[in-house]
Amino acid sequence: MELLASPALWLVLALSVAIPVLFIVGARRLALRMVDRPTAMTASLPKFLPAPRLRAPSLRWLLTRGLLLTLIGTGLGIIMLRFVYGLSAVTNLSDQFAWGLWISFDVMCGVALAAGAFVIAATVHIFRLERFEPLVRPAILTGLLGYLLVVAGLIVDLGRPYNVWRPLFHWQHHSVLWEVGVCVATYTTVLLIEFLPVVLEKVNHFEAVTTRLPTVKLTQLLKKVSIAFVIMGVVLSTLHQSSLGSLWVLMPTKVSPLWYSLYLPVFFWMSAIAVGLAMTIVESTLSSKAFNRGLETHLLVDLAKAAAVVLAIYLAVRAIDLVVRGAWPLMFEPTLQAASFWAEIGLGVMLPIVLFSIRPLRQRHGVLFLGAVLIVVFGVVLNRFNVSLIGLLPYTGQIYTPSWMELVVTMTLVSLGVIAFGLAAKYLPVFHEEEHEASR
């Protein structure tokens, strides 16, 4: 790679290391000074208010943030390089492997993992199982951030990202990718509207003291039409979750028969519902740990039960499909594809069904979390990789492995998503108030 000789790469790397180091050293020095003597801020506080207790941040606190910043700095630097020197400079993509990690993970998996938003919103607002209400806002936030990251990943991957708007205005009824693009764009907007009440609630809380604002009227309006957006969300999700599968229907000679099927869109849709439920369990468990709040275990147990039912139907349909197409003998051939297939079905579908259909098992926190993680990682992420990468290897004859720079960009996007979730959860009423009191 002649890129290694380019000063730009070294500049980006140096900056991405230097900035976080400066941040850690600077933040620590500043914090220590503020603890030692009163600053302008603490001195100006009224006497009857206790001065805020300042504490120097622990080295661990600073290090985790420093590492995150390093990662994000490097990632943004690599994205810059990509736009200057082209995709070949940072990725292992080729004409034989035109779609790599960024499409397989950032887009295909990203969309699937954001499916919790439409599943939970439909459960609560359409089927009116209102006890799941506490899960709606986190699920919608996860979905929204997921889709924003999908769009970000797409912008990095597209060769001519400034043309990304074209499908919206030049309709191509025959193109599956056109439909995916339009749906993702529209659905991201729908998610923004679905999340808007959470932001407005905060604004209203702030502003209510001084003045009446149109935001209150807007909140009331949104409440009235919210059901329409929930229905739109479900329809749009159904369309593009399934269409991600239809993308591969166009390649009958390329995708391994273990996965190629005319029913790929149906499989993608069903697995999206399962992973929507599983992601809600994962996200609730992780955020309850991160924010020290109670865990709605009884709700999550019910989600697990539903996930087991969806997965069981999914497993049955896929088994029938494999037998009808006569592709089942491929499962028993000693190939990478067969191994990957069994990992996907065994660990990601069968095992979670077992874990979730036995009541005493699914009622244990650990099992609940493990089962959900299995569905997410093996059941769906591996499935999307199998369809889009591993299933293509016999045809292309070449093995694509992502470069470290592709990995860093993906990790950067995921980190940005996690940080955004954390900030939103901290400053916006995402989690229900009463749960804080109901903490374990």
Partner: protein, 311 residues
């Protein structure tokens, strides 16, 4: 797909268009021209004369004139270097194959590679922005100004033809043969056909070339194998090959279906209005039923505000 349908639209095709048109009524209202032409671009039934290329591999001597002429004619870089593979700056090249024939002798065969110009092309069906476009006259052309650089055409192409400019940061293009479409409209031959000194390349109407090819096979069965590659592969292509050795041995993609894969996805896409209507009805119905029970008291107005209003 007979030539008699050139001027008239078949009833089925007409109904199909009306159906799709109604489904996208709001889209049509906005951009009628775009939507209709966009749809027609994927429809191979209403084509005018379909220009084709017939490549007789038994006559090719591997002189590379076609590849060099292509470079020169399209003003591609390194026009004096014989290309050895398709890439961002090469639309066509000549591949060398050592083939062992049935009688045990080893012969050398040369295969000119380029875009197959499928009648119902996967890349056209795949492209979300109509950058890949069926000209309706045989050539499948690429319009860079519309391209997003998503590279789905590359993933979709059963022949692995489109090439991407991986070294370009912001204005990469897809590269592939366009059958010199511009010159074609002015009555010129494609550059490669013009340059071929041995008559291995012939240009003409697809129907005529197919008839010629079959006549050649019939009149000289010892010379050719009885297969015109491209006649039925993926629903037919506008580039046709004649050969004396089986195509699999020359690196051609074997076992391609006789129908265009694009037909399957178009079937799926044609179900979308049904899915949209069905899901909307189902969800709205469910919501209607569940919302008949008394709703819980609304508390969307923040408490701070309620207190203020009471004051």
């Amino acid at each position: 797909m007979s030539a008699s349908k050139n001027t008239q639209i078949s009833r089925r095709g007409f109904l199909k268009r009306v159906g799709t048109g109604t489904a996208a009524a709001f889209g049509l209202a906005m951009l009628p021209q775009q939507a209709l032409s966009g749809y027609a671009s994927g429809d191979s039934e209403s084509h005018g004369p379909t220009w084709s290329l017939l490549i007789d591999l038994t006559r090719c001597t591997g002189c590379d004139s076609c590849a060099l002429a292509c470079k020169a004619s399209n003003e591609l870089p390194d026009a004096d270097v014989v290309p050895s593979a398709l890439d961002a700056d090469t639309y066509t090249f000549v591949e060398e194959h050592q083939v062992t024939k049935a009688d045990g002798t080893t012969v050398t065969r040369y295969v000119k590679r380029q875009c197959m110009h499928c009648l119902d092309a996967s890349c056209v069906s795949a492209c979300p922005a109509a950058a890949m476009h069926n000209s309706g006259e045989g050539p499948v052309i690429y319009r860079a100004d519309r391209c997003l650089g998503c590279r789905y055409c590359q993933v979709a192409c059963p022949f692995e033809i489109p090439r991407f400019d991986w070294d370009n940061g912001l204005t990469p293009k897809i590269s592939k043969c366009w059958m010199c479409f511009e010159g074609l409209q002015e009555g010129q031959l494609p550059a490669c056909v013009e340059a071929c000194p041995t008559g291995a390349l012939r240009f003409g109407r697809r129907d005529d070339l197919l008839a010629q090819a079959h006549a050649q096979i019939a009149s000289n069965p010892a010379r050719y194998i009885d297969h015109v590659y491209g006649e039925n592969e993926v629903g037919g292509t506008s580039v046709l090959y004649l050969s004396d050795v089986p195509f699999e041995q020359l690196g051609f993609v074997a076992n391609l279906p006789d129908t265009a894969p694009a037909q399957e996805t178009e079937k799926i896409m044609s179900k979308l209005p049904t899915v949209i209507a069905g899901m909307t009805a189902l969800m709205a119905g469910s919501a209607f039923i569940t919302h008949r029970k008394p709703a819980e008291p609304e508390d969307i107005v923040p408490e701070a505000l309620v207190v203020k209003e009471e004051e």
